[in-house]
Structure formats: structure tokens, C-alpha cells
């Protein structure tokens, strides 16, 4: 805690900050190559249909057009998860949503490519479109995909840890609440772009603003039917990701195929409308939470059910479904827990991982339900939560191992900072405060595809100039992962971050890092970087110890010098130390890698939820509700985040504030909705104007508290900050609305018409609630039963089945 660092823990500008403020940083669409062609994709204008004919001949004759491609040219399917390889770069015979790609044109100008799209004739034989969760549950036909657990139900999960019904029977209070969380999308400011260059030797390079170059590498090699050694992915700086650039995308593969076909570089930059069609955003989730508590608020059992509207493809959806159930147990003690989840296919753009991946929806439900529980029991919601925290260094009912756990101090910080005790239930009508908490993984414990190799690798090359080059597959999406890599290495080697040259996100040059998703990079890349740097340091230390004739334990690295700790003036520069090592050992390089610890869960589905460390957050929101209109304004947010050790507090606060912003957008106004007149399921508003993202005028003051003790699994004790702080903001606002005007909106977003309707109902003596009436009638299978640690279980299913298969079959 009191450990002295020279780089770690100090606010400092990012390594690429100056490039970002001068316009020097090159994003994907900024790249231009000689003879480059421009690509445009033709997308389906019907939500569900068979393609009966595609005629590209007119487009091929259009002046400036060099190549036209359709689904028959790229027949091999792909997808992010091995178990849902259900996408095609161009749809061969079936389209599944308005926006599904069916053809692509490469032309000498973007104008010519755009004009050529109008000259491609496509005939469709319409199929009935599936519009919603209810629609998909009720109509197994027509099947959107020929694989699934049950008709148009993509994935069904039923798990029980302990004995929920027996425990529930002993509760003092049992509540059932139903919630709906509308879908929303990432809306990165940068539209997806990719450029491919064909090497006549038979290789291809794809530059793309992807968060996951390694997974693009796998997908592109597969679809192009090329040796992966001949496919190179270079992740360009992402102009915002938030999870929206974590899947391999059709356009990345298509430009590579067109480059191969034409022998020329081919670039595409999607329009904003197409970005909405790529989506992979927040799943709409309909949820029921049944909770049993004692009079003091302690939970005796939780029974949670979720239905996810997955859209037209699998994407990360199986993992998303598990995530709607996995992390309920890591904040508060839940001794008995049942989770049932189902994800359906619908004819809409596919949902996937958005910041918080699958957890904001259940977190919202649980935290609003706990607010009701506290209200009903006459308890202060902050004090009640503090009493029921999951302890540090424990194993949850669903076999997640918790390390450091700073939620209690987080609650204290926001309660004190916001003057909670003088505000809660004490502010005048129309003003209110609400509190909520959450937790998030610091990296998923398992990779997307089963393998036993490291999740992150770093290579270092030290040269005699004193320069250090670091090679790592990690991808900077604005969160500062390049900076974290440099900070960790600089700290270990006693040099400055600016001394380190970074080569990242390049599958030809850098060791694999799985990508910028699941809040994994700081921890995993950081640990790999520390290991690589320590190994290099050991080589230098041996050489310097010999040179200075001091014991190796006394060799110290700081201030770009290597010296005797007991006699600091006795030392040499870092560059001289590298020279000494190079003379002794030859060229100096090192590697480091990181694999997360194994989780104790052994049941099917145990792969989703484990993490080397969990971050914790608590939030108090203050709101003003206009009772005449129902409009909710948020003047101030207090948020505390247990980050373990901040590697760079400036960046951590930036992540927290950005999470607050995005969370507020979700609870106040963002929604990805569709029109379905005559089953023409089409995005309501695929534009920046009508997809409502908060402007400077709506952003409240935010007070951020960084909390926590260094976690033994984190690099220098660091945990994640990029996703977790989003989660509590949404329920905190919902709870504050109740404190302000006494009505519950059990839907996200908390739109004015919903608040007003609830207010009017309340005035008429009704409940004062706006939200879903109930859950669909769906027969889940009997849950797989797993004994909890308290019951003496071994992490396996009670029938003794153990699953080597991970991630719920991932």
C-alpha cells in the first residue's frame, strides 16, 4: 500500500496523447495506399428472406468499377465464438436483418462504388420476420438459424447453486420484480474502417479499427481459406470501441478478398447507418428477480431469470447470456442462487458485448429490487448493503473466487461525499438521491476459444542505445493500454515511459494478446509486461553486478541508471547496462506472458464469470424530476471505484467519468429500437441525430473517489476501471427517481412519458409503477444442480458430471 513507485500511481499524460491532439495519429480511414480502391457494401433491405437471384452484371460494367463480389465468393462461415460460426462475409442465400451484407463493390472512387450498388439487382423471397422475444418464443418457425437449443431460442441455461426453494421458504420477505432493459449501442465516434493490401507473394495485410486483432486473424484466415501465417492483421487506433469493435466483421474480410481478387489495396469506411447495423451492442433483456431476505436485509436466496433479444446472429451471445446471471453473487452474499437465461434470435442487427457485457441489465434489476427491499424493511439502503457484502478472499455460491473487495469503503465514500444521510428521503418533492453498487471482472478467466496458451504475451528488445522496444498484441482503443504497457515496463526497468517504443496490435510482429475486451488488458498485458521486464532486468542485473562487483541483490534500477543500492553513486547509465549485458549474453530480449489462475468452478457454464480480480463500484445519483413532464435531470453524481492500485489515476478517473457518461445515456435516453409495421423490421433511427447521446449540456458534475487495496493478482495491484463504473449509475438514477417522486420506472431508459404515466397512475391511487407486466411463459429445463462451497460441494454438478468444456460450451 505504501510501496513507492516512480511511474505507477502518478498522473501523467498518455504516451500517444500528443499525437492525438495534433491530428498526427492515423486512424484506419486516414490510411491511403497507392492504387487503392474503395469498397462499398450492398446491404439487405428486407429483414428475413431467401436470396433467389443476384445479378451484378450492370454494376460490373459501371465506369470505375474493378470488382464485384457476392456470397458465393466467400462461402465459409465465421463468428466470434467457436460454437456460433453463423455469419458470412456476404450472405450466400439468406438475409437475416435489414443491413445484412449481400454484395460488395471495389471501384476507383467511392462515388463510383456507391453508384454501382444501385446497379446490383437482388431478388428476395421473403420469410416471416421474427420481431421480439415473445415472437421468437412463440414461433419456432421459420428458424432464423438451423442450429439452436430450441427453435428460435439460441441458448437456454438453467443452473442452481444450493437449494433455492428451501432457502426461500425461510425468508422473512420474498419479492418478485420484473424489469425490462432496452437495447442500446456503442456509438463510437469513429465509424468502422478497414484497409487490405495484397502482397503478390500470396499474403494479405488488413488494417482495421478492431479491438481484437487476434480474433480477426482467426476469422479472416478461415474465410479467406489462407494459412494464418500469411494473413496479417494490424489494429489501428480505435476511435472509440466500447465493445462494438470486438467481433470480426464482414467488411474486414471483404476488403481482403477484394484485394486478393484485384491485386490492389482496398479500403472501406462504413457510413454511420452501417455502424448501427454492425451493432453487437447491449441486448434488450426482460428479467425477473425473486429475492428472499431476512429482516436485516441479508439475502437467503436469489432466483433470477433473463430473456435476451439477441438479434440475427450469435456473436458473443452465449457468453452474454451467462453474464446476465454470473455476477449477481460477487457483491452481496447470496447463499443459494438459481439462474435461468434464454437468448432468442430475431431479425435485427446482432447484439453482443457493450461496456459491462451482460451485467448492466441484471445489476440494474438487483439494485432497484434491493432499494425496494430496504424501503419495505425500513432500512437505509446504504447501511443494509454494507451489512450483506460478499467478503474478500471468499468463494461465491456459484464458485467464483473473490480476492480483494473494496465495496464497503466505496459505499462509505459516496455516502459521505454526497451527504446521503441528510438527503435520502429528506429532499423536497421532485428532488431525490439514489444509491447502487456493482462489480465487474478484471478480464475473463477463459479465452473465447479453448486453448491452454497464455492470454497475453509481451516481448522486449533492448538495444545498446538504451532504447527498449515492447511488442504486444494488445490494442489501444482510447483506454490507454499502450500507456499501461509502457508504464509497467518503465517502472520495472527504472526508465521513463517515453524511452519505450511500442509495437502493438500487429499479428505479424507482436505476441498474441486476446484483445481489448472484458476489461482484461491492464491486468493481463500488465502482468505479461512485468514478467518480460523482470526477465530483462535480471539479465542486466547480472551484467551490472559483475561490472560493479556488487551482489546482484543490491543492483537497483531507477532514474535511467543501474546502481548499487547501498552506494547509489556507484552505477552506470541504463544504456551502459544494456551494453554490458549485450557483451555478456549477446542480443538482449525477453518475453513475458500471462495466464489467469484456474477457477474452482467445474460445472457446465463455469467458464463465464471467473476473473483474476473483481472491481467494485458504488454510486449516488442526485436527480430532479419535473412532475409536469416526467423529464429527469441529473445534476450530480458521486462515484467510488475500487481499482486496487491505479496505474495512472488520470486514466482511471477518465474511465470512471466516461462510464458515468455512458451509464447516464442508457438510463436517460439511449435506445436501439425498431419499427415493425407489416413485419418490416427496420431500425427506428440509425443516425447520430435520433440515437440520443448526451451532449455537453446534459453532463452532470461527477465526483470520483478511487478506493482500494492492491490486488495480489493485478499488476502492481491494479484492477479494471473501464466497465465496472458504468453499472451502478443506471440503478442509482432509477432509485433516485423513486426518492424524488415516489414512482418506479422498471424499464431502461427512464423516459419522461414513463415517469409521467407512473405519476398519473399514482395520483389515481394506483401503484405508481411503469414496467413490464410479467414474463413470457417459457418452460426452462430443470436446472443443473451444483452444491455450493458452504454445502461442501466440489464445484461440479451434483450428478458428478465434470465439464472440461468451458464457457458454457464456448
Amino acid at each position: 500500500m505504501t510501496k513507492k513507485y516512480s511511474v505507477i500511481g502518478t498522473p501523467r499524460r498518455k504516451v500517444d496523447a500528443n499525437a492525438k491532439v495534433t491530428g498526427a495519429l492515423r486512424f484506419a480511414d486516414d490510411l491511403v495506399l497507392p492504387r487503392m480502391l474503395h469498397c462499398k457494401m450492398l446491404r439487405a433491405t428486407v429483414p428475413h428472406a431467401r436470396i433467389t437471384r443476384i445479378d451484378t452484371s450492370r454494376a460490373e460494367r459501371h465506369p470505375g468499377v474493378v470488382a464485384v463480389m457476392t456470397g458465393k465468393d466467400l462461402p465459409i462461415p465465421f463468428g466470434i465464438l467457436p460454437i456460433s460460426q453463423d455469419e458470412h462475409a456476404l450472405c450466400p442465400e439468406r438475409v437475416r436483418f435489414v443491413g445484412d451484407p449481400v454484395a460488395a463493390v471495389a471501384a476507383v472512387t467511392e462515388d463510383a462504388a456507391t453508384e454501382a450498388l444501385d446497379l446490383i439487382d437482388v431478388d428476395y423471397e421473403p420469410l416471416r420476420a421474427i420481431e421480439s422475444i415473445d415472437d421468437a418464443l412463440a414461433n419456432p418457425e421459420p428458424r432464423i438459424h438451423d442450429y439452436s437449443d430450441d427453435g428460435n431460442v439460441h441458448k437456454v441455461i438453467a443452473l442452481e447453486f444450493g437449494d433455492v426453494d428451501a432457502a426461500m421458504a425461510g425468508a422473512d420477505l420474498v419479492r418478485e420484480d420484473v424489469f425490462f432493459y432496452e437495447g442500446n449501442t456503442h456509438l463510437p465516434m469513429e465509424q468502422h474502417a478497414a484497409l487490405a493490401d495484397w502482397d503478390p507473394a500470396g499474403k494479405v495485410t488488413i488494417w482495421s479499427c478492431t479491438q481484437t486483432p487476434h480474433y480477426v486473424h482467426r476469422a479472416a484466415s478461415k474465410v479467406l481459406a489462407m494459412d494464418p501465417a500469411h494473413v496479417r492483421i494490424i489494429a489501428t487506433p480505435n476511435g472509440g470501441g466500447f465493445g462494438g469493435k470486438s467481433d470480426p466483421f464482414s467488411h474486414e474480410i471483404v476488403v481482403a478478398a477484394l484485394a486478393r481478387a484485384t491485386g490492389r489495396p482496398v479500403k472501406i469506411c462504413l457510413t454511420r447507418e452501417e455502424v448501427f447495423y454492425c451493432h453487437r451492442g447491449r441486448h434488450p433483456v426482460l428479467m425477473k428477480s425473486k429475492i428472499g431476505v431476512r429482516k436485516d436485509g441479508s439475502i437467503v436466496a436469489l432466483d433470477f431469470t433473463s430473456f435476451l433479444d439477441g438479434g440475427a446472429y450469435g456473436s458473443y451471445g452465449v457468453a452474454s447470456t451467462y453474464y446476465t446471471g454470473a455476477l449477481q453473487t460477487v457483491t452481496y452474499q447470496v447463499p443459494h442462487y438459481r439462474f435461468r437465461g434464454a437468448r432468442v434470435f430475431t431479425n435485427k442487427p446482432p447484439c453482443g458485448p457493450k461496456r459491462g457485457h451482460g451485467t448492466p441489465q441484471p445489476r440494474y434489476a438487483i439494485e432497484v429490487q434491493l432499494d425496494r427491499v430496504a424501503d419495505q424493511l425500513g432500512l437505509d439502503p446504504a447501511e443494509m448493503r454494507k451489512r450483506i457484502l460478499q467478503p474478500a478472499n471468499s468463494v461465491t455460491a456459484n464458485w467464483l473466487r473473490i480476492g480483494t473487495m473494496g465495496l464497503g469503503p466505496c459505499i462509505d465514500a459516496v455516502v459521505d461525499g454526497s451527504l446521503w444521510k441528510s438527503k435520502y428521503r429528506r429532499l423536497p418533492f421532485a428532488r431525490g438521491v439514489g444509491l447502487a453498487c456493482s462489480s465487474y471482472i478484471t478480464g475473463a478467466g477463459l479465452p473465447i476459444y479453448w486453448n491452454n496458451m497464455p492470454h497475453s504475451g509481451v516481448q522486449l528488445k533492448l538495444d545498446r542505445s538504451g532504447g527498449v522496444a515492447a511488442f504486444c498484441g494488445s490494442t489501444d482503443i482510447g483506454q490507454g493500454s499502450d500507456s499501461v504497457l509502457a508504464y509497467c515496463i518503465a517502472e520495472v526497468l527504472g526508465i521513463e515511459p517515453v524511452d519505450i517504443r511500442l509495437v502493438t496490435g500487429d499479428t505479424d510482429l507482436t505476441p498474441v494478446d486476446l484483445g481489448s475486451y472484458s476489461s482484461r488488458v491492464t491486468l493481463m498485458t500488465g502482468n505479461a509486461a512485468i514478467q518480460a521486464a523482470e526477465r530483462a532486468r535480471d539479465l542486466l542485473a547480472q551484467a551490472v553486478a559483475a561490472r560493479l562487483s556488487v551482489p546482484i541483490e543490491r543492483v537497483t534500477f531507477a532514474g535511467r541508471r543501474v546502481f548499487d543500492a547501498e552506494n547509489p553513486r556507484d552505477g552506470i547509465s541504463f544504456a551502459e547496462a544494456v551494453q554490458a549485458a549485450e557483451a555478456k549474453f549477446g542480443s538482449i530480449g525477453s518475453t513475458g506472458s500471462y495466464t489467469p489462475p484456474r477457477s474452482p468452478g467445474r460445472y457446465k457454464g463455469a467458464g463465464v464469470g471467473p476473473s483474476p480480480a473483481y472491481s467494485y463500484s458504488a454510486c449516488v445519483a442526485e436527480v430532479e424530476v419535473d412532475p409536469q413532464t416526467g423529464i429527469v435531470r441529473v445534476p450530480k453524481i458521486w462515484i467510488a471505484h475500487d481499482v486496487g492500485q491505479a496505474i495512472n489515476p488520470l486514466l482511471v478517473i477518465g474511465q470512471v467519468e466516461g462510464s458515468v457518461y455512458m451509464g447516464l445515456g442508457e438510463i436517460l435516453m439511449e435506445e436501439m429500437t425498431y419499427r415493425d409495421a407489416e413485419r418490416r423490421v427496420v431500425h427506428h433511427h440509425p443516425s447520430m441525430l435520433e440515437y440520443k447521446s448526451l451532449t455537453t449540456m446534459e453532463m452532470p458534475d461527477v465526483v470520483t473517489y478511487l478506493i482500494g487495496d492492491p490486488d495480489p493478482n493485478g499488476p502492481f495491484g491494479g484492477k479494471e476501471a473501464g466497465q465496472g463504473p458504468l453499472n451502478p449509475v443506471i440503478p442509482a438514477v432509477a432509485n433516485a427517481v423513486y426518492d424524488a417522486v415516489g414512482v418506479r420506472v422498471d424499464e431502461v431508459p427512464c423516459s419522461p412519458h414513463k415517469v409521467l404515466k407512473a405519476l398519473k397512475d399514482k395520483m389515481k391511487g394506483k401503484e405508481g409503477r411503469f414496467g413490464p407486466a410479467g414474463m413470457p411463459d417459457y418452460a426452462f429445463p430443470a436446472p443443473a444442480r451444483v452444491l455450493t462451497p458452504a454445502q461442501g460441494g466440489d464445484g461440479r454438478e451434483a450428478d458428478g458430471r465434470a465439464h472440461s468444456e468451458v464457457g458454457g460450451g464456448r
Binding site: K20, V21, D29, M189, G240, R272, E657, T696
Partner: protein, 181 residues
């Protein structure tokens, strides 16, 4: 002001136009239906100007025309010929960052950095007109620039920091100083 002209251009022929871009006179030929955004990025290789929607709905493509921030995606390049255009590439003085650039970098106001050029130019025009803006005035002036990473707070702080440094570097004249008290 340029002399009044009337021109009549066929739609498929390139036209030549002159600008003063970041202080340098340039001449460039392009198709007449191109926007200023497209000409800057594609014909002048000034890719520091980004784009997020091309419909005037995000502010990412903001550049200054005669000092006034405009949406380059909705500005027909031809209409703005002979004007003074400033882009992010022209903000630094040689290797020395503009105080706004420095403050944005220092405080983490650029996360992904994609919206940053637009914010910098809008802020630059604000500080030229109002060297001591309040937080509300900053929010108002920047209300046409969307950012999805930062929640704007670090951007506000950076504008305030830069404004303070710029005031110190160029103290207001006595009369103005009197007026500002």
C-alpha cells in the same frame, strides 16, 4: 471579401480552387460536389480532420473558416474557396503545442482522440472570442461536439486550464483588464 462571381460548372469536371489552409496558400482541383471535409482529407491529405456522420449530427469534422467553427461535412468545398481554413494540423506552432492541445494531452481530455480535433478547433474559436469563459459558457460553446469517451469533464477542465495559461501568456490590455474586473 471576394468579388462577386457567378460560375456554372458541369457536374463531372474537376474544378480548381484556392484556399489559405493553416496559413499556407494552396490550390487544389476536385469534383464540384465534394465537401470541404472530403477535399481536406482526400485532396490535401489533411487527415487530422475526422468524420463521424457526414450529416452535421456530431461535430467531429469541425474546422475553422475565417476563424468561425463550421461543419466541414456540410460545407461544399467550392462555396468556401478563397477562404482561410484552419484545421488541427495548423494549431501547433512548430513543435510547440497550442495551449489547448497541451492541456487536452495533459489532463486526459483526449481518450480515443477521434473527436479531439473538432473539440480543439471549437474551443479555439471560443477562447478567441471569450478568453475567460465560465464552465456553462464552455459547455454551451462545445454543445455541438459529441464525445463518447470522456463524459466531457476533462475537456471542460482542459479548456479552463488552457484559457488560464493563455491569459497569463498574453495579459489583457489595461482597458480590457479594467473592464473584466
Amino acid at each position: 471579401m471576394q468579388p462577386l462571381v457567378s460560375i456554372d460548372l458541369p457536374s463531372r469536371q474537376k474544378v480548381q480552387a484556392a484556399y489559405v489552409v493553416n496559413g499556407e496558400p494552396v490550390e487544389v482541383a476536385f469534383a464540384p460536389h465534394k465537401t470541404l471535409l472530403e477535399v481536406l482529407r482526400e485532396d490535401l491529405a489533411l487527415t487530422g480532420t475526422k468524420h463521424g456522420c457526414e450529416l452535421g449530427e456530431c461535430g467531429t469534422c469541425t474546422v475553422l473558416v475565417d476563424g468561425v467553427p463550421v461543419l466541414s461535412c456540410l460545407a461544399l468545398a467550392l462555396t468556401y474557396r478563397d477562404r482561410r481554413i484552419d484545421t488541427v494540423e495548423g494549431m501547433a506552432n512548430g513543435a510547440a503545442l497550442h495551449p489547448l492541445q497541451d492541456a487536452f494531452a495533459e489532463l486526459g481530455a483526449a481518450q480515443c482522440g477521434y473527436c479531439t480535433p473538432g473539440f480543439l478547433l471549437t474551443a479555439r474559436a471560443l477562447l478567441a472570442a471569450n478568453p475567460s469563459p465560465t464552465r456553462d459558457e464552455i459547455a454551451d460553446a462545445l454543445s455541438g461536439n459529441l464525445c463518447r469517451c470522456t463524459g466531457y469533464l476533462k475537456i471542460f477542465e482542459a479548456v479552463e486550464l488552457a484559457a488560464g495559461r493563455m491569459r497569463e501568456a498574453a495579459p489583457p490590455r489595461p482597458a480590457a483588464e479594467k473592464g473584466s474586473r
